[in-house]
């Protein structure tokens, strides 16, 4: 039997009235929060903005109040980094809001969601990776700066130049191991959160490709 043979019958069955919602029930729905992927991303971004604001504020306070200039530089620098990240998050949030309130054709909608998720995950990954060398270099400089401050060292550059080779080998190995673990952890975590969904979106977009051949 073909679809056209029973089209009217199928249509009738689908048209059979389901239990209708009352105005009150519909009104209640409007007060609930969305379970969509865009809603999930928005909540995640709001949370990250709040965390970033708190961290940036705390770091700025430490930077302004500490009597050690090396601490001021370290915390001041990271305070600026987190403020910068807030701008990135606000930008992403704007994009998600624009997406969530617009209604595109199905293919366009899937493509936009795919790009949005890809951008979100890549920014997330870039930020995680970017912090690694920044933290590392800053902490090394801080160590030498502290020595300088206490009068034991002979300046940051001299200190770095006179550090034994074994120490550098240890520091390098430690950094490579940490970076490798962080790289794979961040990849795994992002894939766990959105990876499967991104793959499904990609499959759906592929399904909508031209089939004129």
């Amino acid at each position: 039997m073909e679809l056209d043979d029973i089209k009217q019958l199928l249509k009738q069955q689908l048209d059979e009235p389901a239990s209708s919602k009352t105005d009150a029930a519909l009104s209640d729905i409007l007060k609930q929060s969305s379970k969509s992927i865009a809603g999930k991303l928005k909540r995640s971004i709001y949370f990250e903005i709040v965390v970033c604001v708190c961290i940036a504020l705390c770091f700025a306070i430490v930077a302004c109040t500490t009597s050690h200039w090396s601490f001021s530089i370290y915390f001041g620098f990271f305070s600026v980094v987190f403020v910068g990240f807030i701008f990135v998050l606000v930008y992403l949030n704007k994009k998600i809001k624009a997406f969530a309130t617009a209604q595109y054709a199905i293919r366009e909608n899937l493509e936009k969601l795919y790009l949005l998720l890809n951008e979100f995950t890549s920014r997330y990954f870039q930020f995680s990776m970017m912090l690694l060398p920044v933290c590392f270099i800053a902490s090394i400089l801080l160590t030498y700066a502290d020595e300088t401050m206490s009068g034991k060292g002979s300046g940051i550059i001299d200190g770095i130049l006179h550090t034994p080779k074994e120490t550098w080998i240890f520091i390098s190995c430690y950094f490579i191991a940490l970076a490798t673990v962080m790289y794979f952890f961040a990849k795994w975590y992002i894939k766990k959160l959105y990876g499967n969904y991104i793959c499904q979106l990609s499959n759906l977009i592929d399904e909508l490709r031209d089939e004129n051949v």
């Binding site: 029973i6 009235p17 009104s27 969530a100 309130t101 209604q103 399904e207």
Partner: protein, 164 residues
């Protein structure tokens, strides 16, 4: 408040569309209810941008299908693209047509999310151009897909019918 009243009046009038989409995309009542809520919410969030260029029913169809296709099920670790849930069996009937309709229902339930959207719009008597506009593909592409889909549904229905 006025906007909310206007929206609720529209939804009250057209909620049949949402029920239909939920019925085709979700077979379990809890999942269906979740999807219904999500579609209403999505429609509400985008309602301020609805300018009335198209009919409300067409716009709601687009919202409903977009939501159903991109919907991430909460209870599943890896949400599936293809639904394999079988339509519930009703009372046994010897009526051949009814059995074939049941088999067709099963075949539709096993389709991919995109194919389900195609079938839904086709059953609503949308022409290929309108289906293409909703899906974001050309009318030509819709025609090719519909032909393949009809062949697929025919063979799948036959299988389900033989097993029943």
């Amino acid at each position: 408040m006025q906007l909310e009243k206007e929206f609720l009046a529209h939804i009250q009038q057209h909620q049949r569309i949402i029920h239909k989409v939920c019925h085709v995309y979700e077979q379990e009542s809890v999942a269906r209810e979740d999807l219904f809520q999500e579609i209403v919410l999505q429609a509400w969030h985008s309602f301020s941008k609805f300018r009335g260029d198209s009919k409300f029913s067409t716009w709601l169809y687009r919202v409903a299908l977009n939501t159903a296709i991109a919907f991430l099920r909460k209870d599943k670790k890896h949400p599936t693209v293809i639904s394999t849930i079988v339509f519930p069996e009703s009372t046994e009937s010897k009526d051949e047509t009814e059995e074939q309709v049941k088999a067709m229902h099963k075949a539709i339930a096993a389709l991919s999310k995109i194919d389900k959207a195609l079938v839904m719009l086709y059953l609503e008597d949308y022409d290929y151009k309108e289906i293409g506009d909703t899906l974001g593909i050309t009318a030509n592409n819709v025609a090719v897909k519909m032909n393949r889909l009809k062949i697929k549904l025919k063979s799948e229905t036959q299988k389900y019918y033989q097993y029943s």
